[in-house]
C-alpha cells in the first residue's frame, strides 16, 4: 500500500492521530527495570503493548538505541517486531549525506529495520533525500520547521522574501512524484504550521513539540490536519512514556495516550 494510503488507513482504523515517540533514556526508565540487561526492550515492549490500539504510529529515536552499542541494534529490531503491521513505524534518524552514503542509511532504515518511514535532514539537497523515497511505500519526513530553540538560527532566515523552511517545502513538493514525502513541523510554531498546511494541503505532517516541549495541542491539531481531519501525526514522547516511573508505568502510559488521543479527537475538524 502507498505510504499515504497506509497512513490514512491506520488513522481511520485506530481513530487516532497520536504518534508515540520511543526515546528510551536508560536514566529515565523505571528503577525496577534498570537492573535488567534488556531494560530498554522490556520498557518499550510494555509501552507498545499498552498503547498499540491507541496510536497511528510509533517513532523510534535512533540516538537512544545507538547509545546502547551493539545491543542497541537488536533492541530496535525487537521493539519493531512487536509493533502491529498496520501501524506506521518512523525511524527518527534525521540523516542527510551525499548520495552514496545516503543510500547506506536508507538501506539500513528501510530494508534492514523495515521502518515505514524515516526523518531526513535536507541541508545537503536532493541527492541526500532521494534514496529515502525510491520506494513509493516508504515515507520520508523532511525537517522543515523544527520544535527546538535553535530553529531560529537558520530556518526563519528570509531568502528572496521567503523563510528557508518554505524553500525546503518548495523543493520537497517538487521531489514528491511518488507521493511519499512528508514534513516535520514543530507544534511550538502554530502560525507557521497553519501556513505550511496551506502550502501542502495533502502532505503528512509529523508534529513534535507538544507535551514536554510546550506546544499548544489544540492549534497543532487544528492547523496540522488536512481537510478530512487527517494526515497530521501528533508526536508525544516523554509525556507518555515517562507518565509514571512506578511499577504501573505501562498503565500510566496507556492512560496518558488515551487521554491525549481523545483530546486530539475533540479538536479535529472536517471541512468536506
Amino acid at each position: 500500500m502507498s505510504f499515504y494510503g497506509k497512513l490514512r488507513a491506520i488513522q481511520q482504523k485506530s481513530n487516532s492521530l497520536l504518534c508515540v515517540g520511543l526515546d528510551p533514556d536508560i536514566n529515565k526508565l523505571p528503577p525496577h527495570l534498570r537492573r535488567n540487561d534488556d531494560a530498554v526492550v522490556e520498557f518499550c515492549a510494555s509501552i507498545v503493548e499498552a498503547t498499540k490500539d491507541l496510536v497511528c504510529a510509533y517513532k523510534l529515536n535512533l540516538a537512544f538505541f545507538e547509545i546502547l552499542g551493539a545491543r542497541g541494534w537488536s533492541a530496535a529490531h525487537r521493539v519493531l517486531s512487536l509493533i502491529p503491521d498496520h501501524v506506521i513505524t518512523i525511524g527518527d534518524a534525521k540523516r542527510g549525506d551525499i548520495g552514496n552514503t545516503a543510500e547506506m542509511y536508507a538501506r539500513l532504515l528501510l530494508e534492514d529495520f523495515k521502518f515505514s518511514a524515516t526523518t531526513v535532514n535536507a541541508y545537503m539537497g536532493e541527492d541526500s533525500v532521494r534514496p529515502f523515497i525510491k520506494d513509493a511505500n516508504a515515507g520520508a519526513f523532511v525537517l522543515a520547521l523544527t520544535s527546538n530553540s535553535g530553529a531560529r538560527d537558520f530556518q526563519y532566515l528570509k531568502l528572496r522574501g521567503k523563510p528557508l523552511y518554505e524553500h525546503v517545502i518548495g523543493r520537497v513538493t517538487k521531489w514528491n512524484e511518488k507521493k511519499n514525502l512528508g514534513l516535520v513541523v514543530g507544534a511550538t510554531r502554530p502560525a507557521q504550521l497553519k501556513r505550511v498546511r496551506q502550502l501542502v494541503p495533502d502532505m503528512p505532517l509529523l508534529i513534535p513539540g507538544v507535551g514536554a516541549q510546550g506546544g499548544d495541542l489544540k492549534l497543532a491539531v487544528r492547523y496540522g490536519c488536512d481537510k478530512r481531519g487527517e494526515m497530521a501525526l501528533i508526536n508525544a514522547s516523554r509525556s507518555i512514556i515517562y507518565a509514571s516511573s512506578a511499577g504501573n508505568f505501562a498503565d500510566a502510559a496507556r492512560a496518558a495516550a488515551l487521554a491525549m488521543r481523545d483530546e486530539i479527537n475533540t479538536y479535529r475538524q472536517r471541512f468536506f
Copy 2:
C-alpha cells in the same frame, strides 16, 4: 591537548594534510576478503597499517559501519583501536537533532567511540551543535558548503545578500568560544572555498570532494590552508582505499596516499 593544537601537531609531525576516508562498502572490498566475516575490519586494518604515517586524520563514515548491524559497532571500535593516538579520528555521522537527542549522539561518538572530532549538520541550530563542542578537546566540523550536487538546492540561497552557508559560518564563528569548531567545505567549490578561508582565517576546514568527486586538488590546498599552510584536511576516500582490489590493495592504497600527500605538499604555501 586542544583540538586545534592536536591538529597542528599531527599535520607537522606527519608533514601531511591528507585525511583518508574509511567508507568500507562491502561490495567494493577486494573479492578475496569478502569471504571473511570480519572483512570490513580486516580491510580497514590493512589500509590503516599501510597509511598511518602518511595522514593527519582518518574519517570513518558511520553509514558504512551501521549497515553491518550489530557487528558494525564493534567493527568501528576495532578499527579505531588501530589508529595511533596522535592521529585525528573523525566520526563522520552528520548528526543534527534537538538538544537532548544531540546529547545522545555526542555521547556515542565522543565518549563511547572516543573520536577526536565529528561532523555535524546545523540545520536545527545551536542546541543541535552544542553537545558536540562541550569538551574543548573534541572538534566538530559543521556542514557549510558540501561537495555534492544537492548543495545547490539550499546552501547557495541568498539571504540579506549572503548565501545560506555564510550564515552558517557566521553562527559557527560565534559558537566557537572553545576554539574547537571547524567547517566542511567541498573541494568542488574552489571560489567559495577561497572566500570561506578569508572569513575564518584560523578554523580547520575539512575538504571532501577531491578524487572520485572531481574537485581540483591544487585549488583545494591553495585556498583551504591557513597562512601557515596548515589547518586544511584534504579528504580522499574512494581514490585511496579502492586504489586496487587485488591482493596488494594495501600497497596500492599506500602508493596512492603517498602520491597524494606529496602532491598536496607541492601546493602548500606559507605566508609568514
